[in-house]
Amino acid sequence: MSLDKQVYLDYAATSPVKKEVLDAMLPYLTEKFGNPSSLHSWGQESRQAVDDSRRLIAKFLNVKEKEIIFTSGGTESDNMAIRGIIIGLGARLKKEAAPMHIITSQIEHHAVLRTCQYLEKNGLAEVTYLKPNLDGIIDQNKVKEAIKENTALVSIMYVNNEIGAVQPIREIGKMIESENRKRTIRETRIYFHTDAVQATEYQEMNVEYLHVDLLSFSGHKIGAPKGVGVLYKKENLPFQKMIFGGEQEMNLRAGTENVAGIAAIAKAIEILQENKAEKVEAVNKMRNYFIEKIEKEISDIELNGSRELRSPNNINFYFKYIEGESILLNLDLVGIAASSGSACTSQSLEPSHVLVSVYDNPERAHGSIRFTIGEKTTNEEIDYSVEKIKEIVEKLRAMSPLVPEK
């Protein structure tokens, strides 16, 4: 199939590796190939790359170097954070103690949800799944109300991957701190984890500001390659590692380091900090242009998620009377990449658990499309895409038995 034009509007799914990032990582695949654990000069060269990267990322998050663990990506970081704390705490507590309580939300990424469900199923934790409000925001008061004596972990994502809702992480973090101050020395503290995979490029990532104990992010969402991620874990937390073997990553994650990936994610972080405010503002403007244009051009639509508390790169609309799946397939056939949220392994579309939770409306979940833009997205691309979206929506509505008679 030959296409005149291709537009990528799925940056929240993954992003291309940036040129500077590729340049920074390539030497560690070829001439500087040493194992960082080796004592010789090859090893030392690689070791330095890992150390430098760790330093840079620690500085970015405003944390200590030893609090940075390199992982294979956001999913591993989330798994490790939640299982690490719950199993780590379990080892400290007496056997007869009740299972620990986790508070999370219904709109988390599956990396968090499935991990919680796994712990629940195996009797290692009980879990409260909070429902967001109609803007897709988790109310910090609801988190507070859900806290119980045995609550040990709160895990709330920073930015929702589907509807771009920006959660009040700082407020929740401060609230948890004040709850912890009320606890006696015999009681466990409540630890706070945030999945910041969709926040890294656009939100404040200073951990001291956020008041979190654990934070996950991923390389491939920010211009580094797939297969590398970071978990920030505050020092001295009760923590059990998941991957056993060598003593890499402060003895918390075994396995020879992905040196090139680590060099890449550090470079990507370095780049995104340059003129961050201007870049965020530019993307934000582009997003508003996109949203306004769709609202002007296409009828019978609704914006999913909050208008104000919204990630600068996220546009998500409900197109009434038609199926999101058909819109997506048609968009792909004209070279436009979008998404309906999360795709499962077989690439088929499941109704989004996020939209189902926020709107209690399966039709809305089936009729919604997410567009996520990046720094490189242009006004022309948006104009072209909206024109195509409009054509497709009109065509599908002309065939839909659900459109009310005028």
């Binding site: 469900q117 048609n330 690439q347 579309l349 499941e350 038995p401």
Partner: protein, 384 residues
């Protein structure tokens, strides 16, 4: 609501993105060799081909248990279909019809059993899923045609689609497709219908399709272990209850252990003693009774058919027609006469047919042309 029929009228022919010279065909790819070859043949003929893999319902869909270990078969099939699409260089999408499939096919299947009938889920899937939901998706995608790997043939003459059996009589799948209509057939292609199965495999090998040696799927797709009784025990509670075994006159001979364990025509000793086995004549769901008798009691000439659909406009007009009738898949086609009575048809075979089973389809043929079909409502005792 708009009239649903309008979906399939020419007005909505998907031309927005489709080059008139190069027609767009959506191929339903199952990962099997037949649909793989169908896609490849269309590609070679110059069509713009798009592959679609349909994800249907499996029992795992309803489980809250999140470790879904049993999806390997369907993932396997999707992977096989994708491999063919990649080989052919065509776009490929997986669509999720689980909900639609559950409602239209699985719920129907269970309910039919609960009513003492023996349903044919493939017929209903072709009518409500492939012939409705999928065809809608084809139009949504601007497709001019939907193609499948069925062994059946459409011959277009004078604006009418004549539906013929697949030329490989052993593989002929026309039986499952009697619910299609002229409007739908106008948008369908069966690219392997004029081939024999060994030819299809040969072509797949010659074209190096990765599915060339893939095993044929058998049985009902949502019951992969083929244990229908167990499936129904899990889903149709009232079917597992024991009840009386009756003879034709209504005398109680004993107790059965749930109607799900029996099908019409089955030969069983039923724990009733005596040297002779009994044959299952009827599953009476109202009385939860199993009616048994001798083999000879299974033979009938007359039946009543409901939900009749004539594909052939010529036969649709007839009050009375002489046709060939097939009362189940794989059964021979036998001479019979159909007579319209209200919304139903009385069918009289020349020769008695063994084990006519309510819920199964009866499909009508005129020589090799499949002209229509319906669902067997009951044996017509009054005429027998």
């Amino acid at each position: 609501m708009k009239n649903k029929q309008s979906l399939f009228s020419n007005k909505n022919k998907g031309t927005l993105f489709s080059d008139e010279k190069k027609k767009r065909v959506i191929v339903a790819m199952s990962g099997g060799v037949d649909s793989s070859v169908a896609a490849a043949l269309l590609k070679n003929q110059g069509y713009e081909v798009i592959g679609i893999f349909m994800k249907f319902w499996t029992e795992d869909n309803d489980k809250t248990d999140l470790v879904r270990e049993n999806i390997c078969c369907s993932l396997d099939a999707a992977t096989a279909a994708r491999a063919v699409a990649q080989k052919l260089g065509i776009p490929f999408y997986v669509v999720n019809f689980a909900n639609e499939f559950k409602k239209a096919v699985v719920d129907y299947y269970i309910k039919e059993y609960e009513e003492g009938r023996t349903p044919n889920p493939c017929v209903i899937c072709n009518r409500d899923i492939k012939g409705e939901v999928l065809l809608k998706k084809v139009l949504d995608l601007g497709g001019d045609y939907l193609a499948t790997g069925h062994y059946a043939q459409i011959k277009r003459k004078g604006g009418i689609c004549h539906f013929y059996q697949g030329s490989d009589e052993k593989k002929d799948q026309s039986y499952f497709l009697w619910t299609l209509t002229q409007e739908k057939l106008a948008k369908m292609l069966f690219p392997v219908g004029n081939l024999a199965k060994p030819e299809v495999r040969d072509l797949a090998r010659k074209m190096n399709l990765p599915t060339a040696e893939r095993r044929e799927s058998q049985g009902i797709c949502f019951i992969p272990d083929r244990n229908v009784a167990d499936f129904l025990r899990r889903h149709g509670k009232k079917l597992a209850k024991s009840g009386p075994i009756l003879d034709k006159e209504g005398n109680v001979l004993g107790q059965h252990d749930g109607l799900i364990n029996y099908t019409i025509g089955q030969r069983e000793h039923l724990g009733l003693g005596g040297p002779d086995a009994y044959y299952v004549l009827e599953l009476d769901s109202r009385k939860n009774a199993l009616v048994v008798g001798e083999d000879v009691d299974l033979f009938h000439k007359n039946l009543i058919v409901e939900d009749v659909n004539w594909i052939s406009p010529e036969f649709a007009k007839k009050e009375k027609a002489e046709v060939g009738g097939r009362i189940r898949y794989g059964h021979p086609i036998e001479d019979c006469v159909t007579i319209k009575v209200g919304s139903e048809y009385q069918v009289s075979f020349v020769k008695p047919q063994r084990a006519i089973t309510p819920g199964q389809s009866i499909v009508f043929y005129h020589k090799h042309e499949m002209v229509g079909g319906g669902i067997i409502k009951k044996i017509n005792n009054q005429k027998d």
